[in-house]
Amino acid sequence: MTQAHFIVQRGQAEGEQTMVDYTVDVGAGMVVLDAIHQIQATQAPDLAVRWNCKAAKCGSCSAEVNGKPALMCKTRLDDLDLTKPVEVRPMKTFPQLKDLVTDVGWNYEINKLIKPFKPTNENTDEWVVMQEDIERAREFRKCIECFMCQNACHVLRNHDKKDLTHREALFAGPRFMIRLAGLEMHPMDGEDRMRFVKDEANVGYCNITKCCTEVCPEEIKITDNAIIPLKERVIDRFYDPIAMLLGTLTGRK
């Protein structure tokens, strides 16, 4: 049986961090999470890792494998170069609790800021929703909330725009841009979130560099299908004088 080296970041919040080198027996079809489980079972029972489904559907096992944000259960060992040690670290953008487990609670705080769906017509029996009206938002509903896009986005990762007390300098992040886009594009939604998108979610912080799209395990085209359309809607409302004039004349919001 072949063996491979896994160098795993170990440590606790505020505590000392070490990289520990483990040797793992590699079998066919293994993913990084299997290797981590093997380490847990045979060498380090106290190694902390969060996981639930091992099927890339629960969004719990986000980490960084060889420096790249990835779901550990979706990263196959036969896609990695096992002649070199595989490095596994926790997500950088969120505070580490222990070893590979991070506290992603900040995301839920952002979620609370978003005004929920407000039906234009309370009588849902009368709703007729056609396929073409809902297909855009369906893509966004695939999100498994792994928060890897939030972790990869440089606005949160490098520029740390996470201060909830300074809304003008906060960035909601790509995961919540798709939620906002899905709500704003919904034909039956009567809420208006565009000022929030511009001044509190701050879509303007995104510079279209597409790391969110690159890492999304659900292959949601976050930048092209959610963020750019939101930016265009913000332009309609707040930047483009002709669109603003037309909007006023026609009473369109």
């Binding site: 790249k68 606005v155 279209i208």
Partner: protein, 260 residues
């Protein structure tokens, strides 16, 4: 046999300005972008300053399109400099504000971020596209309106490029100019702003016949939009090739090959 785990120091970050734990060649794409941009910029400045060899027979270099000084000699008789200056700001402004191009230069030129999970060379006060100067990129749609006009001109040059002194013919130059017009069209018609303006801004596509028609248009642009980045690069090389071809033929370095 399981070996005993050993503690190794937290892997030292690679030296150089870009701190990252990534091990793959994430910088390859940036090198391509930087080299292409640099060569294209130098070539464009040179070609625009030339003020000569931009026409040959029925061919016109796309850098000089639309040829305003030839179309309206009276109005533009004050133009003593290269007529390319009258028009080149339109395609350049369109490209510079293009969403795809923004991705390319924010990565390759400003390193913000150089690539995913790569740190900044040094911390900056980040304002993204919320404040000056990048907030100006929001006017991309105005350049789009101009680019739509340019598309018409580029196709008119394709027609012109078949009108030789001895009648209708197709030369290699005609093909090169056609490729330029074709890829410019694909590039413009896959634009994100167009995708929004043509229908994406609606929420209720099925509401009326008119909004259903907009949904169809939006779907077509959305299909093209998936390849917007590809069209950006191909049309850049196509316009470059068209200018170079016309220039080489006009300078006498190359003789035009007539197909029929």
């Amino acid at each position: 046999m399981i070996a005993h785990p050993s503690t190794v120091p937290v892997a030292p970050r690679p030296c150089g300005p870009f701190k990252t734990h990534r091990q793959d060649a994430w910088w390859g794409e940036n090198v391509f972008s930087l080299v292409t941009f640099a060569l294209f910029t130098v070539y464009t400045i040179w070609a625009v300053l030339q003020n000569t060899h931009y026409e040959w027979g029925p061919y016109l270099s796309p850098f000089y399109s639309p040829h305003l000084t030839a179309m309206f000699p009276e109005t533009f008789n004050w133009v003593k400099f290269s007529p390319a200056f009258l028009v080149i700001w339109m395609p350049l402004g369109f490209r510079a504000t293009c969403y795809f191009c923004r991705r390319v230069y924010h990565r390759a030129v400003f390193n913000d971020p150089a690539s995913c999970a790569v740190e900044l060379p040094k911390p900056i006060n980040y304002t993204g596209e919320k404040a000056f100067p990048f907030v100006l990129l929001n006017m991309h749609r105005y350049f789009l309106y101009l680019a739509l006009v340019l598309v018409v001109f580029h196709w008119s040059h394709v027609w012109q490029a078949t009108q030789f002194e001895d009648g209708f013919h197709v030369g290699l130059g005609t093909l090169v100019i056609t490729l330029d017009a074709l890829f410019l069209t694909l590039y413009v018609f896959s634009c994100h702003s167009l995708r929004h303006l043509i229908g994406g801004r609606l929420n209720h596509f099925s509401k009326s016949g008119c909004s259903q028609a907009k949904h169809t248009l939006w779907s077509v642009v959305s299909k093209l939009n998936e390849h917007h980045g590809k069209y950006f690069w191909i049309s850049l090389f196509a316009v470059w090739a068209a200018d170079a071809y016309v220039r080489l033929v006009a300078m006498g370095c190359l003789s035009d090959f007539r197909l029929f």
